[in-house]
Symmetry: C2
Amino acid sequence: MRLSRYFLPVLKENPSEAQIVSHRLMLRAGMIKQSAAGIYSWLPLGFKVLRKIENIVHEEQQRAGHIPMLMPTLQPADLWKESGRYDAYGPEMLRIKDRQDRDMLYGPTNEEMITDIFRSHVGSYKDLPLTLYHIQWKFRDEIRPRFGVMRGREFLMKDGYNFDLTKEDALHAYNRHLVSYLRSYERMGLQAIPMRADSGPIGGDDTHEFLVLADTGESEVFYDSEITDLKFGDREIDFDSVDQCQAVLEEFTSRYARTDETHDADLFAQVPADRQRTARGIEVGQIFYFGTKYSEAMGATVQGPDGKSTPVHMGSHGIGVSRLLGAIIEASHDDKGIIWPEGVTPFHVGIVNLKQGDEEADAACQALYDSITALGLDPLYDDRNERAGGKFATMDLIGLPWRITVGPRGLKNGVVELTSRKTGESEEMTPEAAVEKVAAIYRAIA
Amino acid sequence: MRLSRYFLPVLKENPSEAQIVSHRLMLRAGMIKQSAAGIYSWLPLGFKVLRKIENIVHEEQQRAGHIPMLMPTLQPADLWKESGRYDAYGPEMLRIKDRQDRDMLYGPTNEEMITDIFRSHVGSYKDLPLTLYHIQWKFRDEIRPRFGVMRGREFLMKDGYNFDLTKEDALHAYNRHLVSYLRSYERMGLQAIPMRADSGPIGGDDTHEFLVLADTGESEVFYDSEITDLKFGDREIDFDSVDQCQAVLEEFTSRYARTDETHDADLFAQVPADRQRTARGIEVGQIFYFGTKYSEAMGATVQGPDGKSTPVHMGSHGIGVSRLLGAIIEASHDDKGIIWPEGVTPFHVGIVNLKQGDEEADAACQALYDSITALGLDPLYDDRNERAGGKFATMDLIGLPWRITVGPRGLKNGVVELTSRKTGESEEMTPEAAVEKVAAIYRAIA
């Protein structure tokens, strides 16, 4: 993309309404625009990152064998009356009447609807295991929406639901989700730590939240420092293997890691003192085995191998897709702006022309642009008639991980400059070498 | 995908609520499930096709230089009060009050919101031309939703908006959209004919609807038969070239083609009698230049080269993404089921194992599956323990364009059978030849 043809309305001033850095930087980098309290338009740069995150989630869910579909945003109230949640859910549920005066709602989550789909179509244990998921806009009418996309009212979420014959099978589905979530977050450049969560009135131990450590997190977290050394990395895993998935669960959840909601001071005290850590965290996902709560209430049963009808064991598993943009920025920025991890960057590399209009510089930039594009990468070429300082400031603000700077002086020596956004380090090399280095970086994470 | 692990709830009976063939087939093929009147869940097979159509629209819009973004589903009423449409819009607009008693609505379209974004960020003609678009769920509270996704209440639409300094520039944007729409529909296997549309109270000639001919279409259409011979094909086009885009407009709109809303019997009579055609059509898109209607009402102005402030010339351009699934099926089916065009098929090829459990047949199917997948194609392997007749019926119903049938008898002679869904013709060949033939078909449209 040539910047002169793009729509990137960066702001020079710090927007006064933004209290936290990610909100501030998303506004300043022209990624979002608020249209109502807690409701945002995703401007082109923001939309690009949102799509990248969405794609990673899709790929990792499907790798785990989970099946994509899409449920609508509006739901009939009747389904929620069956489960008992229509009355139980507070004013966060946006209730709507259509022109026929039917009670509807803007879905804050989809347990009822997916259970209805399941019971309409599945009748035998032979069709299990089954995990369906979707990525769809949800609405929660927060009384005080704040922190930009971190606590918006209309938000994009991946929610998946497993259906299994037994608790044992459902716990394997739970573990499969845990593994797929670890992979997803790492691909986004995030460390998200699974922490024992509060299962609420349903009870049970089988729920974990995934938290990203960040000073601005809404939760206080307590953990054994050994946990931050864990990496899923690029190990191979067979998602059908109960043992392999169970081993990952044990590896990643056996050390102490809890939020203030489930914190147990006595247990925490058993962690060696030099490994006890307290910090703040942002919740970016949750997995939850809840058994037969919905299947019993809504009659989602299958015929088992013994011929008997039995309610299915279910769980629901969520990733906060739109909120992840805020979380990533909270975890990765400096005083100049955003620092995108390579896995989610809106453009792979920026090209800065120090002397727009100079024949040789223009030609060199165009050649770089063409060869980067030919490799299937997506460059952003700042071809505006602006001073170098302004161009650098924009690139730093929007946070592309790599920048190639092209100027007449370097070209005389046959070199351009390749700069890492993260370290700020620059290296002179031929244009071909710069392209090859950038290409190699992205090949490594493809 | 192995069918035994997929969620494909096909129906054996014809659903009684479906009046038209596309609705019936989408229900029978397990593509959608109604959750409320005019509101559907997209089951896995339906979602796959929806995503393919969405991707074609994204690719063709970006090829034309239009910039993707995303606006939210809910909008504040205030914006619509500025344009005057809050009161003008009838009961099709779903009006909502949030917990703070603020007036909101579920967007049926986005002229107001995009104009608000534009005026907040753009102040100079130097930032023009600009075309922004998004693909987002909309809601229109139809009094009688019917025909499945063809006339639903919650529907997915691509809507794009151009902002230009002059009428002339805006008409180039109009033409660019026309070209990109012709390309999009052809990639979906559709012929969609641009027909002079009714511009309503705004007036002006510059609006066309795109209609797909089908017996179940809601509009009566009148056209010169020469028009159905036109194809955009794979010609090269420079979307920046005013002349090239204008030439395409003239080629595709100079012959008589109108819906009942704009039909002019006298003009039609001038078409040679043997070329006069009357038929029915389904509207799948519309382009519309409306000048300064919204920019004047909402103060979306730019400073021109002369230093004077001037309202921008705009147009809005829509493609009915979810409705296209219905339109494609209406245009392409037979009494056995759907016949997907290759450009939008949910799976590229089906593999039918005639004797599941036979060692040789299982191995041959697996080998086919692996080599097709390795080519980046997406096969659906029917590995269920079902009789051949049932497997064929399912494949015919869900409409994959190509099927490879594998059985012990053929394998003795080293052959499998490749069958075209469209013609029903089968050919025996080696598994390698079948894979290569399928791969070549999809390479040709990639």
